[in-house]
């Protein structure tokens, strides 16, 4: 995938109905790519990262052979989709009351 295709895919994700923003962070919780404003990005990066780490360690503790692959948090206003991986994590915010 070239840079342009990465951009294309991100644009497609962004233009999907209800998507409010996306965020790609690395292991240290530093945002690499985001289309939210800076303060929100920072907040989400730090908070979701710690939550994701906690979730990951929870799954690991319950069953060491298992690992966290994906989780979605549904709130009243948004749905937060988080895809954590070894080195990076992708977070997408989607509004729930789209209809």
């Amino acid at each position: 995938m070239t840079q342009a295709e990465v951009d294309d895919t991100l644009k497609r994700i962004q233009e999907h109905k209800g998507v409010q923003g996306y965020l790609i962070i690395n292991n240290d919780g530093i945002p690499i790519r985001s289309n939210l404003d800076a303060s929100l990005t920072q907040q989400y990066a730090a908070l979701i990262k710690s939550l994701s780490d906690k979730a990951r360690s929870t799954i690991r503790e319950i069953d060491p052979s298992n690992e966290l692959v994906f989780f979605r948090m549904r709130t009243k206003k948004h749905e937060i989709l988080v895809a954590p991986e070894k080195e990076y994590t992708m977070i997408v915010l989607q509004a729930t009351d789209v209809q």
């Binding site: 995938m1 895919t9 994700i13 989709l81 990076y88």
Partner: protein, 654 residues
């Protein structure tokens, strides 16, 4: 007089502080080497009684190896703490250190907070010093102006507070009391501090990266691990995004109605129902669908190969996409593969779940692997005389899990068999010729699970049957009947009470579809309802008397020979100026896939009665075949009175 001495000391110290401030403004870089020294100074300053204990050792414990300045500074400290009058003027950098000394004791607590990286925060929150100066609290926020500047700030603060020595003493005492526990715990504190220092450096580094992200960002984005991560997670995210409307319903569902009911069942009278189409703006526009295949491992995956894009020459010529029919609304392919010349035929490898094969216009056969993240082929056959030099129109994987081969035929009549693991050279190759005339093959099928016998359709309009090995390796029989190139070839492959495997269907540019048996050299029946080139024909994999044809006017027909052998059961023409190029049944016979010349793949669901054959369907079909035979014999008699036996019968009937 000690008070005066004290005052003199303080004056000297103040002067030195001023000097230090000046030097600090000149040398900002000296701050970081200062801080470790500060801690060391503080330790050595406080453990003045222990000053004879080797300061180097202490410093080494803390992890600082500043051999050059250390000895001098340590030496200078001990006299300084002991009696201020012995203060000498050490060189510039050490002067800083010495002058730092009074500040040292204060700077320790802020230093601990300085090491407040994000990872550590939760751990440290319990131990945090609540009575530490309120100024320090400010630096707990996750702001951008974080550590690098705060060390300087703290030092500045310290200098300011130093003017008021009383307050400085208080704060220092308070901080000392809180943060510098007795010697026993000092070591642990030191190791903690080491950790914190490392983390602070890391934190600093990460924060500096944070500030420089633009270059680093691009670098990261281009790196391989990121690409891997991105292709995986973007797929995940897209799938969940596209499928989540259903999820909304789950949450908003007040009555708990059955969601499955939303998938409308087909009416009894409705034979096919449009399911979805696959089209990608970038990759399939202006391209013709050249071949379709479905996976045996994952029946929802559809493989399609496309011709070159004449409109935009910068896109790669060869495109092969894997679509997922399970996700109803996701509009993007699961996998995208490219290669240099356009792909004329493609196939999933039946025995390797991750291998995709393609035969190209240039004669190369390419292998893609879905496990890698590459879009280009992982293997390519050589463009040599030993392999193909003409377009490869037919590819099929035959054999069993353990012994499988890839058979390919190119337009020049060369048939090669390959081992998928080793594609540099064909295992064997054979030139197909019928009575010394090379066969220009356009279609090839190995009926059922055959590995030796095959059927070929050619450009001249004849179909041939042959075998790969054996006494009569090569083409054995020819089936003549078509007047134009054969575009579609399909062997009957339904397991049932009666074996119809000698039956095969061919479609051709001569507007007709013909039904043959391997045992007869003349067609059993000819279906001539089309008024243009018929581009493909396929038997249903589950129903013995059902087959599908498509032609270049965008018309596709579903035939049921048990229902009517003259007219199709269903005939539909697509809107717009589309020409259908390929058609395929899904493995379970419940879906049909049509590829057109505008790069679109259409999926239709097929009604149940066409997918569940009844017992007597087989019998009916054999009766129908008998009828065909009788009809052809009669026609034969009528048309060929020169045949003596036929002439006799003709004479008798006439």
């Amino acid at each position: 007089m000690s008070a005066e001495q004290r005052r003199a000391e303080l004056e000297v110290k103040r002067a030195k502080l001023e000097k230090m401030r000046q030097e600090k403004s000149q040398k900002p870089g000296a701050t970081t080497p200062m801080t470790p020294n500060i801690s060391s100074m503080s330790i050595t300053g406080l453990s003045a009684p222990r000053e004879d204990a080797d300061p180097d050792k202490i410093l080494k414990e803390v992890g600082i190896h500043q051999a050059a300045s250390l000895p001098m500074s340590s030496r200078s400290i001990s006299p300084a703490t002991a009696s201020s009058q012995q203060k000498r003027r050490p060189p510039a950098n050490i002067a800083l250190q010495i002058c730092q000394q009074p500040a040292a004791t204060i700077s320790v607590p802020p230093k601990e907070l300085v090491t407040y990286s994000k990872e550590v925060q939760t751990i440290e929150s319990g131990e945090k010093d609540p009575t530490a100066s309120p100024i320090q609290h400010d630096h707990l926020q996750w702001d951008d102006e974080f550590q690098p500047s705060t060390t300087g700030e703290h030092n500045r603060l310290v200098y300011v507070s130093d003017d008021d020595t009383m307050s400085f003493d208080e704060t220092s005492k308070a901080s000392i009391g809180m943060t510098l526990p007795p010697a026993i715990e000092l070591k642990r504190a030191r190791s903690l501090k080491q950790q914190h220092k490392q983390q602070s450096l890391q934190g600093q580094a990460s924060l500096t990266k944070h500030e420089l992200t633009n270059d680093e960002r691009d670098q990261i984005l281009r790196s391989d691990p990121f690409q891997d991560f991105f292709s995986r997670t973007s797929r995940l995210i897209e799938r969940s995004l596209w499928e989540s409307p259903k999820a909304f319903d789950i949450f908003k569902d007040y009555s708990g109605r059955d969601l499955d009911g939303q998938n409308e069942k087909m009416d009894v009278g409705e034979i096919i129902k449009f399911d979805r189409e696959f089209f990608d703006e970038r990759w399939t526009r202006h391209r013709i669908v050249t071949c379709i295949d479905t996976s045996t491992y994952h029946p929802e995956l559809v493989l399609a190969s496309y011709s070159q894009n004449d409109e935009s020459s910068h896109e790669s010529d060869g495109v092969v996409l894997i679509w997922n029919s399970k996700y109803k609304s996701k509009p993007t392919p699961e996998y995208i593969f490219n290669c240099q010349s356009w792909v004329t035929s493609c196939a999933f490898s039946k025995f390797h779940p991750n291998i995709v094969l393609g035969g190209t216009y240039s004669g190369q056969i390419v292998v893609w692997d879905t496990r890698t993240n590459k879009r280009t082929p992982v293997q390519r056959t050589a463009l040599s005389a030993s392999s193909h030099t003409h377009p490869v129109y037919c590819l099929q994987v035959i054999g069993t899990q353990n012994a499988n081969n890839l058979i390919s035929i190119s337009n020049e009549g060369k048939m090669c068999s390959w081992n998928i693991e080793m594609m540099t050279q064909p295992q064997e190759s054979m030139d197909l010729a019928y009575r010394t005339k090379p066969v220009a093959a356009t279609r090839m099928v190995f009926p059922g699970v055959e590995v030796n016998n095959f059927i070929i359709g050619s450009e001249e309009g004849q179909a041939y049957s042959g075998s790969r090995h054996g006494n009569k390796a090569g083409i054995q029989e020819s089936y003549e009947g078509h007047f134009g190139p054969i575009t579609g070839l399909s062997c009957h492959n339904v397991n049932g009470s009666i074996d119809f495997s000698p039956l095969f269907l061919t479609s051709s540019f001569d507007w007709s579809v013909k039904l043959w048996s391997l045992k007869e050299s003349k067609p059993l029946n000819s279906f001539e309802v089309n008024s243009d080139y018929v581009t493909d024909v396929r038997w249903s994999p589950v129903h013995p008397s059902v087959f599908l044809t498509c032609d270049i006017t965008g018309r596709f027909d579903i035939w049921n020979l048990n229902h009517d052998s003259e007219l199709p059961l269903l005939s539909t023409t697509l809107d717009g100026n589309v020409a259908l190029n390929k058609c395929l049944w899904a493995h379970n016979g419940q879906q049909i896939i049509l590829g057109d010349d505008q790069g679109k793949l259409r999926l239709y669901g097929v009604n149940e009665f066409l997918t569940n054959p009844k017992q007597d369907d087989f019998n009916k079909l054999s009766n129908t075949l008998q009828d065909f035979k009788r009809n052809t014999l009669d026609a034969f008699d009528d048309n060929h009175p020169t045949n003596t036996a036929a002439a006799a019968t003709a004479a008798t009937t006439n």
